[in-house]
Point group: C2
Chain length 224, copies 2
DNA sequence: ATAATTGATATTTGATCAAAAGTCAAAACT
DNA sequence: AGTTTTGACTTTTGATCAAATATCAATTAT
């Protein structure tokens, strides 16, 4: 049985209202709960969460620092609405950085890791089949981040988390394009390639996953 | 004479106390003004900048979100002190991401870009020769970020800025190892390779710049 | 009728303050 | 002497409030 070494304990940071608000807002964003265009005030969030405006302020400051939220009209804030250039930039950076994380993750593919991915893929397929949008988005997140976490680089993981905070609000539109099915093919390909230790193929599938989502997104959203 | 198009105007965001405090603290960190181990309270910063604690709070929240500052003892904050693992992680991620930015920057190397780099290199060499630590650190920043800016990816630029906020507090120790001279050789090599459109060589020099600094840093700082 | 200006309103920003939490050191106990 | 406990003090956290600022609508002028 595994003995826990003293270094492996989690730092157990104090639970404060602002971190709780921050967590809630993060989840909301990652699950597509904040639609682009929608706007809120600090007071409205404070009211919804039944806390005073102060902890909301600090949480929102943090999210604005991470560019997950932005000032919409000086009077209220919302998810940044991306133009085509920003979308493309985000896509290009994601392709490079998430490929890197995948490559690092594949330096050591334990059976436990494979099994974990398989389990998460099954959940994601089930969510797609039953058309659960929220369930799919969450499962998709879990699948990808299981990989990125396995890269064993806290800093890279952090950077990717940041990118996902920016793209997540837009992922729910993919449900209307029937894109989730296409996406799951790529997820299947990634897992298969991981099993075969084929980094090239896994990377190609991941890039296809990201790029095809981007193409659909741009086709759906951009009018000008 | 160039006519300014309406789209090219900067959004001109409102200047508020907290953003000013944030800017000041960023500069301080990037120029090595905050030594690892040193610690402050919000009140002490507020006092030093002659503002009330409130704007400092928000600026500090932002910097903690970006992991440029961290809580040291629940009672005061400081620059995160990195162990060997964190240093290595940071180095590895920097190597990958800054190489990527360099590659993108070299997709179009205008004469103006080259001239700009040359000018910045000259300043950096002068700073090294006259042993101006602060001057060198600033010039080094300007040289690197001239490249990263030319990559023309706001998102990548933002990620790199974040990484530099984390590593900058440690760069001043390189002055004592006479490392700046070695570093400038690499900068010279990078510029030469950029001029020749030799991406491979430029990347190799950049990686050498980052890696050798890391080696020196680890040798100097890590005792355990 | 259209455009600009002005004024009212909503919201953020910054200040002050009370309460909660954490730290450090002195004192008490083993 | 070393360890634990206790208590004073420091600092953060969250609340409330005033001032600054931006937005929107109504009014005025062209």
């Amino acid at each position: 049985m595994g003995m826990k070494s003293i270094e492996s304990i989690t730092p157990l940071k104090r639970k404060t209202l602002q971190t709780e608000v921050y967590r809630q807002l993060c989840s909301l964003i990652l699950e597509g709960g904040l639609a682009p265009g929608e706007s809120f005030t600090i007071a409205s969030i404070a009211n919804a969460l039944q806390v005073s405006p102060m902890p909301v302020r600090e949480a929102v400051t943090r999210l604005m620092a991470e560019k997950a939220l932005t000032i919409v009209s000086g009077r209220s804030m919302g998810v940044p609405d991306l133009n085509k250039t920003s979308f493309e930039d985000l896509k290009n950076v994601r392709v490079e950085i998430e490929s890197l994380a995948l490559k690092w993750a594949m330096r050591n593919t334990s059976p436990k890791f494979i099994a974990d991915l398989e389990e998460k893929l099954i959940i994601m397929i089930a969510a797609e089949k039953s058309s659960e949008v929220k369930g799919f988005i969450r499962a998709n997140y879990n699948f990808h981040f299981a990989i990125y976490n396995h890269a064993n680089s806290p800093i890279l993981y952090n950077l990717i988390s940041n990118l996902w905070l920016r793209i997540s609000p837009y992922l729910h539109v993919l449900s209307e394009s029937g894109h989730y099915k296409i996406s799951n093919e790529q997820h299947h390909n990634i897992l298969a390639a991981v099993k075969m230790h084929d980094v090239e193929k896994a990377t190609a599938s991941l890039i296809e996953d990201i790029t095809s989502a981007y193409d659909t997104l741009v086709a759906t959203l951009i009018t000008d």
